[in-house]
C-alpha cells in the first residue's frame, strides 16, 4: 500500500452535457494520442517516400512468392505451405494444449494396441497411403564361402517346408511337420475371423501411428511459431528431420 496523506483528490469528470463524448480526456491521454498520431504519420511518410523512390526494375522475393488466389485475394506463400489444409486449419484454430492432449491420447491407444497385436500383416498399400516408407525386414544368413552361397537352400537351412518360407513367425520345422500332431496342424491355417480381426487392428495401428506423427509435427511447429513471436535477432538454421525450419536466436546477455 502506498503512502496516504491528506485528503483524496477526485478527478475532474466529463460535464454532464458532454457525457456523450465519453470520458474526459486528460493531458496524459492527449499525449499518448498525439504520440501515436505522429508515429503513424511518420510511418506513412516513409512509405510514401519509398513508393516514390521505388526502382521499377528492382527484384524482390515477395514478387515471386506472393500473388492472388482464385478469388483475387492477395496471398503470400509461406512456411505453412508444407502442411495440408486440414492441419493448417488445426494449426490456426486449436490451441497447442489440445494438440498435445490429442497426441498423448493417441500415443496411449497406440501403445495399448501394439501390446496386443504383435504380428504384422503385409498390407503395404495401406501403409503407403499413410506415408510409411519403412522397407520390409531383411534376413541375412552368413555362409562360409561363395560355393556355399551359390548352393544355399533356404528351406533346407531353416529346416522347414518351402511353402512356409514367407512366414517369419510360427514357422514349423520339418520334424514338427512330419510328426503332424494337432498343435502343428493348428499352426497351418489362421482362421478367417482371426485374420479379419488382426487386419482391423493392423489398420488402426497404422492410422494411429500416422496421426501421432502428424500431431507431433503440428505441435512442434506451434512451438516454433510461439518462439518466433518473441523478440530478439534470429537466423534460420536449416531444417530438422521432419523438414521443418529451425531457427537460432542470437544469445543476449542478460544483466
Amino acid at each position: 500500500m502506498g503512502k496516504h496523506s491528506g485528503r483524496d483528490h477526485k478527478e475532474r469528470a466529463q460535464p454532464l452535457a458532454r457525457q456523450h463524448l465519453g470520458l474526459l480526456e486528460k493531458k496524459k491521454d492527449y499525449q499518448l494520442r498525439a504520440k501515436d498520431y505522429r508515429k503513424k504519420q511518420a510511418r506513412l511518410k516513409t512509405m510514401q517516400e519509398k513508393a516514390r523512390a521505388r526502382n521499377p526494375d528492382e527484384f524482390y522475393h515477395a514478387m515471386i512468392k506472393s500473388g492472388t488466389d482464385a478469388k483475387g485475394r492477395h496471398v503470400v506463400q509461406d512456411r505453412n505451405k508444407q502442411f495440408d489444409a486440414t492441419f493448417l486449419k488445426l494449426l490456426k484454430t486449436q490451441d497447442q494444449g489440445y494438440i498435445t492432449m490429442q497426441k498423448i491420447m493417441n500415443e496411449k491407444k497406440l501403445e495399448r494396441l501394439r501390446a496386443d497385436t504383435h504380428i504384422p500383416l503385409a498390407n503395404q498399400a495401406h501403409l503407403e497411403t499413410k506415408g510409411h516408407t519403412a522397407s520390409p525386414a531383411k534376413h541375412t544368413v552368413f555362409v562360409d564361402d561363395e560355393a556355399a552361397a551359390a548352393s544355399f537352400d533356404a528351406a533346407k537351412h531353416f529346416n522347414t517346408h518351402p511353402s512356409l518360407l514367407g512366414r517369419s513367425w510360427n514357422r514349423p520345422t520339418m520334424d514338427q511337420l512330419t510328426q503332424g500332431d494337432a498343435a502343428t496342424a493348428a499352426l497351418g491355417a489362421v482362421p478367417k475371423a482371426l485374420r479379419h480381426e488382426r487386419a482391423v487392428h493392423q489398420r488402426e495401428i497404422v492410422d494411429r501411428a500416422y496421426r501421432v506423427d502428424r500431431l507431433a509435427r503440428v505441435e512442434k511447429e506451434m512451438t516454433i511459431q510461439k518462439h518466433l513471436m518473441t523478440k530478439g535477432p534470429r537466423k534460420k538454421a536449416g531444417k530438422d528431420d521432419q523438414g521443418l525450419d529451425t531457427y537460432r536466436w542470437k544469445p543476449i546477455r542478460k544483466k
Partner: protein, 215 residues
C-alpha cells in the same frame, strides 16, 4: 502374439498382460505377453530369427539389462535350471533390476560397466550365450571382451545394433556390415542377421558363434 511362460505366476514385471491357460491335466499355466515394440529380442524372434540360442537351462550373460523388461522374459525362457547374469551400469534402472531379481532367482543382477568385465569376473561362470543391447559406439569391443572372458567355445552371441548409436552419418546397412566385420576379427563367426522392421527403424540383430580356435 508372443508370450513366455511366467516363472512367477500372478506377477507382472512392467505392467504387461498375463494369460492363464488350463492344461489338459487340470493344472494352470500362466504366460506373460512379450511386446516386440518394447523388446528388440522379441522383435527379432517375430522377425524370424532361426535360433536365438536362449533356451531352457541355458546360462546367459545379458549386457545392457536396463530395468529388466527383456531380461524378465529371458529369465522365463531359461527357467529355474538356467541363469541370467544381467549387467547394467546405470543405477536408476539397476534398482528396478535388483528388485525384480528378488522374485526371480535365476537372475543375477550386476551393476557394473560392461567395459570392465574383470570387475565382475568373480560373479560369473562360463556362459552359453551373450546377449548384448548396450547401444554404445564401442559395443563390438565391449561384447568381444566379455566373450573372451566368459563365453564357452562354440557359444553364441546375439547382439542388437542400433545404427545411429554407432554412426549416424552413414546408412544403417553399412553400419551393420561394419559391426559384423569387427566381430569377425574377434573370432566371432556371424551366422544370421535380421533387421527389425516394422518394430524398430534402423535396428538389427546379429547372431554369431564364438570360435576361439580352429578345430
Amino acid at each position: 502374439m508372443l508370450v513366455t511362460r511366467n516363472m512367477v505366476p500372478g506377477e507382472s514385471v512392467y505392467g504387461e498382460k498375463r494369460i492363464s491357460v488350463e492344461t489338459p491335466e487340470g493344472g494352470k499355466v500362466e504366460y506373460r505377453v512379450w511386446n516386440p515394440f518394447r523388446s528388440k529380442l522379441a522383435a527379432g524372434i517375430l522377425g524370424g530369427l532361426d535360433h536365438i540360442h536362449i533356451k531352457p537351462g541355458a546360462k546367459v550373460l545379458y549386457l545392457g539389462a536396463a530395468s529388466g523388461t527383456s531380461v524378465s522374459h529371458v529369465s522365463d525362457i531359461v527357467g529355474p535350471e538356467g541363469l541370467v547374469y544381467a549387467v547394467e551400469f546405470s543405477h536408476r534402472p539397476g534398482r528396478d533390476l535388483i528388485n525384480m531379481a528378488k522374485k526371480r532367482t535365476n537372475i543375477i543382477p550386476i551393476i557394473e560397466d560392461a567395459r570392465h568385465p574383470s570387475k565382475y569376473r568373480m560373479l560369473i561362470g562360463m556362459v552359453d550365450v551373450i546377449f548384448a543391447d548396450v547401444a554404445q559406439p564401442d559395443q563390438a569391443r565391449i561384447i568381444t571382451m566379455n566373450a573372451h572372458m566368459f563365453l564357452k567355445a562354440a557359444g553364441h552371441i546375439v547382439i542388437s545394433i542400433k545404427a545411429n548409436c554407432i554412426d549416424s552419418t552413414v546408412d544403417a546397412a553399412t553400419v551393420f556390415a561394419r559391426e559384423v566385420k569387427e566381430l569377425q576379427q574377434e573370432k566371432i563367426k556371424p551366422q544370421e542377421q535380421i533387421t527389425l522392421e516394422p518394430y524398430e527403424r534402423d535396428h538389427a540383430i546379429v547372431v554369431g558363434r564364438y570360435v576361439p580356435f580352429k578345430v
